[in-house]
């Protein structure tokens, strides 16, 4: 311990400009020891904690403190050490002083654990991405992935999944996602063979993201339907499973939307939006955008509260106006809105979906007409729908007849007189409909309760001894870190 203090003391005076936050290095060392104990005791939990702690430190990382940390953990002169140090920006002579400290005294770990080595890769990679040195980050991530393939330890999994994530991120930032697709597939295969669940989840998500980036919905769906599922984790509260699951749901929702399975898509998207952490604003906005369109396509009108969610009003504004146009059933207004916000829609890549909506606008307009008039001539229908076509009456007739067949309106056509006769709307309370709706709601509530019970976790021996004050503090601290981690992660990921 004295050694640590010495180094921390030594650093500030030698660096005038790039003086590292003195607290970072000791923190990093703490994390290293946490990983070490975790690796020896085979406790994955400790390693996840280490990753969480790292995320807190992320903003404070400096090249100098990283260099010092590498010297501390890795044997200087070893291959890994020299490779990793080469990624860090060159520092001046002062660093050498710091270097000499650990090399003079016996290095704390002679042969670093693979966990620590991987951790160093992760740290350097995060640092490089934060510094926007994407080319170095790409090189660094590629070497780390090559190294990862040779390590088969369950305690590495948590670190590996983070590495995969940043690996893909830095390629995405430079726009070369297609390059790594083959590699990701290979990694997914390896993870599956090793029963590395976290790795599988992360890689599956990355692959889906990769495909969807290029609009390859077909391939994405084929992969998704054949890859092992991980829905079983949906109940677990562990954050490392919830976030991948949210993403997975989002991608799934997108695929299903494109393939016109709107009911399933709506479910996935709404679930993703609900399960996503509060701090993940960008992600929730995306989910909501897609969910709104899907609901519109289903013929539902989302409630006003959806658009008024905190922090989303502005982003959802185009979709609000769109919904309004669909609600009124005004083709003209719909066209204007689609044109006005076409840049937003094309950057959201929802343009094609908006085109599909036209059909729903007509339907809604037709439904309004059918409710308000008991009998109306087809010429008036065409006028009210503002169909601009060479033969509006014939179009109106076939559109109405299709709507009747699809059950959108309840009416009959009279061809000889050229009018549409609406049928009396039946009394819904004379059918079984309300009972069915009531039943499905009760079932939902009961199911929710049961899932909550199942997700409860009981620490061993909790009934014997009361939680000591110290333990409680530790637990609370852990929860706090968790919350912070979520916030951190979502700031930059979505």
């Amino acid at each position: 311990m004295t050694q640590d203090v010495e180094m921390a003391d030594q650093a500030p005076p030698s660096k005038s400009l790039s003086s590292p936050d003195p607290s970072v290095l000791p923190h990093l060392k703490e994390i290293a020891s946490l990983i070490e104990t975790g690796a020896y005791a085979r406790e994955v939990r400790r390693i996840s904690r280490a990753v969480r702690l790292t995320m807190v430190l992320r903003k404070k990382l400096k090249a100098s403190s990283l260099g010092a940390f590498l010297n501390y953990v890795l044997v200087s002169g070893s291959e890994v050490h020299s490779r990793l140090s080469s990624f860090l920006p060159k520092e001046d002579e002062h660093d050498m002083e710091v270097d000499s400290a650990p090399s003079g005294t016996p290095a704390p770990v002679k042969h670093p654990l693979p966990e620590l080595e991987i951790y160093c890769y992760l740290l350097v990679l995060i640092f490089l991405i934060d510094q926007k040195k994407y080319d170095e980050a790409k090189a660094c991530s590629s070497t780390s992935i090559a190294r990862l393939k040779t390590v088969n330890r369950r305690t590495v999994d948590v670190l590996a999944s983070r590495l995969y994530f940043y690996y893909s991120l830095c390629y995405e930032l430079t726009g070369d996602l297609a390059e790594i697709r083959g590699n990701l597939l290979a990694l997914h295969r390896i993870a599956t063979l090793r029963r590395d669940e976290l790795g599988q989840e992360t890689l599956l998500n990355l692959l889906l993201r990769n495909y969807l980036h290029y609009n390859l919905y077909d391939q994405a769906e084929k992969l998704r339907s054949k890859a092992p599922h991980f829905e079983a984790h949906s109940n677990q509260q562990a954050i490392f499973h919830t976030i991948p699951f949210c993403r997975y749901l989002f991608y799934l929702g997108k695929i299903r939307t494109i393939q016109l399975e709107y009911t399933d898509a709506k479910e996935s998207l709404l679930q993703a939006a609900r399960k996503a952490p509060q701090a993940a604003l960008g992600f929730r906005v995306q989910c909501n955008k897609w969910a709104i369109i899907v609901r519109l396509l289903l013929g539902e009108i989302p409630e006003r509260t959806v658009f008024m969610q905190k922090g989303m009003e502005k982003a959802l504004r185009p979709y609000f106006e769109l919904t309004n146009a669909v609600r009124i059933g005004d083709l003209e207004l719909f066209r204007n809105v689609a044109e006005k916000f076409s840049s937003t829609f094309s950057s959201d890549r929802t343009n094609n979906l908006i085109v599909r909506l036209r059909h729903n606008v007509i339907r809604t307009g037709l439904r309004n007409i059918s409710i308000s008039y008991s009998r109306i001539s087809l010429t008036d229908v065409a006028k009210k729908l503002r169909l601009d076509s060479p033969n509006p009456v014939a179009d109106a007739e076939s559109i109405v007849s299709k709507a009747i067949r699809d059950g959108a309106i309840d009416a009959t056509l009279d061809h000889a007189n050229g009018w549409m006769v609406s049928k009396e709307t039946g009394d819904i309370y004379s059918t079984n409909e309300p009972q069915i709706a009531f039943n499905s709601r009760i079932a939902f509530c009961l199911n929710m309760h049961n899932e909550a019970v199942r997700a409860l976790r009981f620490p061993p021996n909790s009934h014997k001894e009361k939680e000591s004050a110290e333990k409680r503090r530790e637990r609370q601290q852990q929860e706090q870190e968790l919350a912070q981690h979520i916030a951190e992660e979502d700031d930059d990921d979505f």
Binding site: L260, R356, I362, S398, S401, K402, T412, D414, H415, H449
Partner: protein
């Protein structure tokens, strides 16, 4: 030059000659020869190796598959179309960066969209659509298919049929004919629900037949349940969604019991 390439281009020349003559037997025979020959090139998908004349080989292969697709349309073979199209697709997607764009690309993509529409594979239609860029969507061939789909979904069948006159390419006619058949079936299905009765002359117009005889044949074949009386077609109305008179007691009992069981567990 590589003897293999020479062989391919010679066979391809003979194929093209037969293609112009509309000699389909020779074409299919030569095409299968060509396909076998193409497997020998390492620069083609899925290997995509960087060989010295990769570009030339890729272009030739793309050309061959484009002809194969058009041939399948001419021979009115939808399965062959699908097979050949999937073989051609990597040249448009994965090799896009390396090859100069083919003038045939959009017509063929549009044809494929049309095929999916005819076969009523709307989900795949939209999946394909997502792959196209904005400039591709503005291309007349693609736009034609997209507008058809929209009119089809809306129910504006007249617009679908009048689109037949504006086909961007002669090869489209085959699928447009098939589409006309699909549209007629759709209209018949809709009329069945929407009208109580129709005079035969109106029905003839709506279903787009040129004579009453054709109409009667069609009704007999496709919709024997329609009744034809005094110059009117009378559609059989199935009275559905009658208000529920009886209480579904058994179902209610099981539901209530399950609520009771669940509540027991909670309390």
């Amino acid at each position: 030059m590589d003897p293999k390439i020479t062989e391919v281009s010679q066979t391809f020349e003979r194929f093209k000659a037969a293609f112009v003559r509309n000699d389909f037997d020779t074409c299919t025979r030569l095409l299968s020869q060509l396909k076998v020959l193409l497997t020998a090139f390492k620069s083609l998908p899925p290997l995509f190796q960087e060989t010295s004349n990769a570009i030339h080989e890729l272009t030739t292969a793309r050309d061959i598959y484009e002809h194969a697709v058009v041939l399948s349309v001419k021979m009115e073979d939808q399965d062959a179309f699908e097979r050949d199209f999937f073989q051609l697709k990597p040249y448009y997607t994965d090799a896009r960066g390396r090859l100069p764009a083919s003038p045939q690309e959009y017509p063929i993509l549009g044809l494929n969209l049309l095929r999916l529409l005819v076969q009523n594979r709307i989900a795949e239609f939209h999946t394909e659509l997502e792959l196209l860029s904005q400039s591709a969507l503005d291309n007349p061939c693609i736009k034609h298919a997209v507008e058809l789909e929209q009119s089809f979904m809306e129910g504006a069948y007249h617009r679908v049929l009048s689109a037949r006159q504006t086909v961007p390419d002669a090869t489209y006619a085959y699928f447009m004919d098939l589409l006309a058949k699909t549209v007629r079936d759709e209209i018949a299905g809709c009329s069945d629900k929407a009208y109580d009765r129709l005079s035969t002359s109106d029905a003839r117009q709506i279903l787009l037949f040129s004579s009453d005889k054709e109409l009667l044949q069609y009704v007999e074949k496709e919709h024997p349940e329609w009744e034809i009386k005094d110059g009117f077609i009378i559609f059989q109305k199935v009275k559905d969604s009658v208000p529920c008179k009886e209480i579904p007691s058994l179902q209610l009992i099981t539901q209530t019991l399950s609520y009771a069981r669940e509540l027991e567990r909670i309390v």
